[in-house]
């Protein structure tokens, strides 16, 4: 059985990765736009 600590670790890691994905996408968009490489 998974412990409360492991469950919270799993969810926090997933939350952190998802938040990072949002930031990465925004940065990638800004970079592509700046270099005129969107399309």
């Amino acid at each position: 059985m998974i412990s409360a600590a492991s469950l919270s670790l799993l969810v926090y890691v997933a939350l952190t990765l998802t938040t990072l994905a949002i930031i990465c996408l925004a940065v990638m968009m800004w970079r592509d736009w700046k270099r005129n490489q969107l399309w």
């Binding site: 412990s3 469950l7 990765l17 998802t18 996408l25 592509d32 969107l38």
Partner: protein
């Protein structure tokens, strides 16, 4: 939880129908205007079907990710977590494997077929007409099954969340997606996918944070340990079985479907592999974040009428109308981001492989450009007509497409890398894999269909290729666009 139900199918809805309709209308109009604006400079078939074949990394990553985040990810991940526990959400997140494994293939596809349009193009040039036609049957059957299932899911989810009539929700979602795909082509699909990705990710993160803040891990864990200990069990056999079949189904879906191939053609040189890799990594945690929400249901003492409603009900109970609006917008975005991609990619397949490949072999790009518009409208009407009677059995078609799509994994992979695989071997692998996979679906169960199909396809392709070894020249793949 508001009690707004017109059809009487769901006693507990989380959002008043008037607000739901307003959200559909506002977002719908915004997507259509955005789609028209993006498509205003489309001139050529490449512009319309493949966004000019020069899509950058940000759009490329977001569109691959958003398309793979369907209503299933946002609704089924909580449902599976509620039914199968921790393995449900972790298992679902392994759907990312398909995207990760497709990354090297995307690079290879762009390199081998710089002028290709569809996955059908590859099969025809690589394996000949017979394999091409078998592949088209599989691919179109899967695409139409997925389209109908998404169309129906739109109506059913809107009805379940708000009580708004099934026909209204389904028709509005289809109309919006068909309109902006028609007006803007692949550019509209990709750019709306980017915005929809940000909405989906921000929505699930916000909801998960609020669930943690309002209830907390200790309470959730204690309540689950006392009332539903199986959900915390890491040796849950049913969950492990589901996980394995789901993984192969996902790989088969991505490897063969023109949804993913058309993106490989549309992305700029050297962007495809990186974009699919990043999309897989970014997608990986989403089912865990979305699924975790369901674990809070026992702590809230909720009576869940059907497991697929657990996510919205938890949010509605915890966060009231504001939370319900967030869920509704997230689910609408998830639906639209997949429906538009599927419409565009299926229209490309029908235009290139059916219209130019079979009906009008001498068709020019200009004729195909025009035909592509009619085909999108036709697909929209076809889907709407089949979704209208709400035959849920039609949506279940998608479940046994696992046997079909898994049979294409090896013909695609071997065909891209090994010259010794012949058209006869690929055709045999697809036909036998599908037939025996389907048989196992009905004789044994849904959870083995993709697995059996994939295994039979592998054995067939190896045996037939050993009996008759080919020596394909990969340079033949890089020719012009006429079938």
């Amino acid at each position: 939880v508001a009690a707004n139900c017109r059809e009487g199918n769901h006693i507990n809805t989380v959002l008043p129908p008037s607000i739901a309709f307003l959200i559909l209308a506002v977002f719908g109009i915004a997507w259509v205007i955005f789609g028209w604006w993006l498509g205003r400079n489309n001139r050529t078939l490449d512009d319309y079907m493949l966004a000019g074949r020069n899509v950058g990394l940000a759009f490329a990553t977001a569109t691959a990710m958003a398309t793979w985040v369907t209503s299933n990810t946002t609704m089924t991940a909580p449902q599976l977590t509620y039914q199968l526990g921790v393995w449900g959400m972790v298992g679902y997140s392994l759907g990312a494997v398909g995207l990760l494994l497709f990354a090297p293939l995307a690079g290879r596809i762009k390199q081998l077929l710089p002028h290709g349009f569809t996955s059908g193009d590859f099969i025809r040039r690589r394996y000949g007409n017979l394999a091409w036609r078998v592949f088209l049957l599989i691919s179109l059957f899967y695409a139409l099954g997925w389209l109908i299932s998404l169309g129906m899911a739109g109506g059913i989810l809107v009805n379940a969340l708000s009580g708004l009539q099934y026909h209204i929700g389904m028709s509005v979602i289809l109309l919006v997606c068909v309109s902006y795909t028609l007006l803007g082509g692949m550019k509209a699909v990709i750019a709306t996918d980017f915005v929809q990705t940000l909405i989906i990710l921000s929505g699930v993160v916000l909801i998960a944070f609020l669930v943690i803040d309002r209830i907390g891990f200790d309470t959730i864990h204690t309540d689950l340990s006392n009332n539903h200990p199986m959900l915390l069990n890491l040796l849950f056999p049913a969950a492990l079985m589901f996980l394995f079949n789901n993984l192969l189904f996902g790989v088969g879906e991505i490897f063969h479907s023109n949804v993913w191939w058309s993106r490989a053609f549309a992305f700029r040189d050297k962007v495809g592999a990186r974009a699919y890799l990043l999309a897989g990594l970014f997608w990986l945690p989403i089912p865990i974040v979305a699924g975790f929400i369901a674990l809070a249901a026992p702590s809230l003492g909720l009576q869940i009428p059907s497991a697929d409603m657990v996510g919205p009900m938890v949010v509605g109970e915890l966060l009231g109308t504001t939370g319900a609006i967030v869920v509704f917008v997230v689910i609408f975005s998830a639906l639209a981001s997949s429906l538009d991609s599927l419409l565009a990619a299926t229209a490309d397949l029908v235009t290139q492989d059916i219209y130019r490949g079979h009906i009008n072999p001498g068709a020019t790009d200009a004729q195909c450009y025009k035909a592509g518009h009619y085909i999108i409208i036709g697909l929209g009407i076809f889907t709407w007509l089949l979704c209208l009677p709400r035959f849920t059995t039609l949506a279940s078609l998608l479940y046994f497409t696992g046997a079909f799509v898994a049979s294409t994994i090896w013909p695609i992979v071997f065909g891209l890398y090994y010259p010794w695989v012949t058209g006869k071997a690929a055709t045999t692998a697809m036909v036998l894999g599908t037939a025996i996979g389907l048989l196992s679906y009905f004789v044994i169960g849904f959870y083995v269909a993709a697995l059996v199909s994939c295994a039979v396809s592998l054995v067939s392709i190896v045996i037939v290729s050993t009996l008759e070894t080919g020596s394909f020249d990969f340079r033949k793949l890089s020719g012009g666009k006429q079938p």
